[in-house]
Amino acid sequence: MLLDLVDHKESINRLLARYGVKFGIYKNNVFHEQLFPFDPIPRVITQKEFDYLNRGLSQRVRALNCFLADVYSERKIVKDGVIPADFIYSSKGYLPQCEGITPPKKIYSHISGIDLVQGRDGDWYILEDNLRIPSGASYPMIARDLTRQAAPEAFTRRHVLDNRNYASMLRETMDYVNTGGINVVLTPGRYNAAFFEHSYLAERSGAVLCMPQDLAVEDNKLYYRSYEGKKMQVGAVYRRLSDEYLDPLCFLPESLIGVPGLMNVYASGNVAVINAPGNGVADDKGIYYFVPHMIRYYLGEDAILKNAPTYLAFYEKDRSFILEHLNRLVVKDVSEAGGYGVVFGSNLSAGELKKLADAIKAEPRRFIAQEVIDFVDLMIVDGNEQVPRKADLRAFVLAGEKTRVWPSGLTRFSRNPDSFVVNSSQGGGFKDTWVLSH
C-alpha cells in the first residue's frame, strides 16, 4: 500500500522547492531558509478514527475557550478551587492587560494546534495544546496539492478527504468574528520562521498579507493604509506576531514592531484579533494537567481524549513520585517552547539526574513530568529503503460558529531514529495526513 507514492518523493520535493515551501531558522544570528523535508508516505486515518478525534479535539478546544473566557473575567474556576491561583498568575502567558476584554463572539482560540501521538496500544494521547499562533497547516495543504499533481493515480481509488479546504475554513473563521472591514494576515516579516505559511495562507484565504507598518489606528478603529493616502477598515487581524510585540503601548514599550493602539481598538470591540492575546495562559505546560478537569468543570463531560500521564511537581505527592522515578520520566520545563526544555530522565547521568532533582525541588512550579509514551513509528523513505521514525500529529481545530477539526493535519517525524523530538526547528521532516472518507 502507498508504495506508488514512494517513487514520487523526488518529483514532489522538486515541486515543493519550486513553490518555496520553506521554513526559516537562525544559525549564529544569521537567517537561513531551509526546505522542509517532505516524506511522501502519508499518515492515514480512517473515517471512524477521525470521528473520534474530531469529537475529542473539539471538546477540548471548547473547554479551553471557556477557560480563557473565565480566566480573563470572573475566574470561577479559581474561586471554585479547581485550578490553583499559582498556575494562572505565575504563568508567563497570563496577561493581566487582557482582563475584562471580551473578544468578538467570545472566541479566544480561533485556531488551535493540538499535538497528539498514537501509542502502540492504539490509543491517542494529547501531548500539548498550542493556542497562540500554531503553525504548520500550510505544509500538508500545499503538499497535497503538489502530490496530486505529481501522482494523480495515487488518489483515484483511495477516497481521501480533500484538505485544501483549510483556506476556506480559515476564511470562515475570520469572517465569523470580523467586526466590519477586510481580513488581514499580520506577519512580523520576511525573516520569520513561518513566513512561507503567512504568505501562503493569505494568498489562499483571500486575506491581505500585511506588515505592522501597513496598519494604523485612527479614531479607535484599525485601518489598512494605502500608498496614495486612502484607507480601508480592518475587521479581523489574523496575527502571526506574538502578544508582546503586538502593541508597544500595551506590551513591550521598546518594541519597534507592532501597531500602536491596536489593543485599545480590540478592547473596544472594534476589531477581532486571531488568536486572542493572552491565550498563553491556557497552553502552558502546567495548565495542560488541568485540561481534563476543565472539560468536566465547564462542559460537564468526561474528556474523550487522554492526556499523557502527567505529574505536577507543584503537588507534594506528585513531586515525591517524580523524584523517585526521575530516570524513567520525561521532564518538561513549562517556561520553554519548541522542543526545548524537554529532558528524558533515561538519557541523564547520575550527576545530571541529581541536578535536575535539585532544580525541581527549588522551583516545583516550573516542572511537569510525564510517562514516556511508547508511540507508534511511521515509515519514511530513506534512499532506497523505508525506515521507521517517531512521529506526532498536529491537528488543527478551528472555532467559529462551530468548533471543528480540519480533516488532515501536520505529521512531523524526527530526524534521527532514536529521537522522540519531532520539532521542525530541530531538523525533522513532515508528512501529509490523509483522512479517508469511508
Binding site: A17, R18, Y19, G20, I182, V185, G189, R190, F195, S199, Y200, A202, E203, A207, V208, L209, C210, M211, Q213, D214, Y224, R225, S226, Y227, E228, K230, K231, M232
Partner: protein, 222 residues
C-alpha cells in the same frame, strides 16, 4: 482589493526594477561575452564603467564568474535576482504563488549554471523564467494598479540601462514611452522636473550628448 499600502507599492516597484535589471544585464552581457571570446578580452572593463559598478574583477574569467554568480558581490546578477525574490516573496498574496515560482526557478537555474563552460547557453533558461514571470504577472495579478506599479519599475530600470549602455535612440524612445504610459495610470509621486528633463532630452534625440544629465534625471525620478 484595490488598495495598496506604501510598503507594498515599494515592493511592487522594486520587483519590476530588479527583474528587469537581471533580464537586460543578461541580454547585454551576452554581447560583451561574445566579444570577449576572441576579440576584446577586456571588454568587461568598459561594461563596468557603463553601468557604474566598481571593477573588482581583474580579468575576464573572474568577471564572468563573479559578476554572474557571486552571491557576495552586491552588483552580481545573482544578488540582483535575490533582491527581486526578497521583494516578491512578501507580496505572494498579490502576485500569486504561481507567479512567484518563476523567480524561485530563475534563482535555481542561475545557481545551477554557475561554473558552466557555456553560460550563454545555460542562462537562456533564466531568461525564459523571467519571460514566464512577466507573462504570469499579466495573467495572474488581478489588481491593475499593482501591475502598473510593477511595470513602472520595470520600464524605468530598462530606460536607465538603455541610456547607460548606449542603446540606439529608437529603443530609448520606445522604452521611455512605455514607462510614461504606465506612470500616468498610477498614483506614485515623482519629481516633475525630472520628467520635464527627460521629455526634453529624449524628445530632442540628444541622449548620447547629454547622457549624464539623462542618467541623473532617471536616478532622481521618484
Amino acid at each position: 482589493m484595490g488598495i495598496i499600502s506604501l510598503e507594498r507599492a515599494d515592493h511592487l516597484y522594486w520587483i519590476g526594477r530588479y527583474t528587469e535589471r537581471v533580464f537586460t544585464t543578461l541580454v547585454t552581457f551576452f554581447d560583451f561575452y561574445d566579444q570577449m571570446i576572441d576579440m576584446d578580452l577586456n571588454a568587461y572593463q568598459d561594461y563596468c564603467k557603463m553601468v557604474a559598478i566598481p571593477d573588482i574583477y581583474g580579468d575576464k574569467g573572474t568577471f564572468n564568474r563573479r559578476y554572474l554568480f557571486d552571491q557576495y558581490d552586491p552588483n552580481s546578477v545573482y544578488s540582483n535576482l535575490e533582491r527581486a525574490y526578497d521583494n516578491a516573496i512578501v507580496i505572494r498574496d498579490e502576485i500569486s504563488s504561481y507567479t512567484l515560482a518563476y523567480i524561485q526557478l530563475a534563482l535555481d537555474h542561475l545557481q545551477a549554471a554557475s561554473g558552466s563552460a557555456a553560460p550563454h547557453y545555460d542562462l537562456q533558461q533564466v531568461i525564459d523564467d523571467l519571460h514566464a514571470f512577466w507573462g504570469c504577472v499579466d495573467d495572474r495579478v488581478d489588481d491593475e494598479e499593482a501591475r502598473n506599479i510593477m511595470k513602472c519599475g520595470k520600464y524605468l530600470e530598462r530606460l536607465d540601462l538603455y541610456i547607460r549602455l548606449g542603446y540606439p535612440k529608437r529603443d530609448i524612445e520606445r522604452g521611455y514611452s512605455k514607462f510614461i504610459n504606465r506612470l500616468d495610470r498610477v498614483h506614485l509621486q515623482y519629481h516633475e522636473e525630472c520628467r520635464g528633463k527627460l521629455d526634453e532630452i529624449i524628445g530632442s534625440g540628444s541622449v548620447k550628448e547629454r547622457r549624464d544629465e539623462a542618467v541623473a534625471a532617471v536616478w532622481n525620478f521618484f
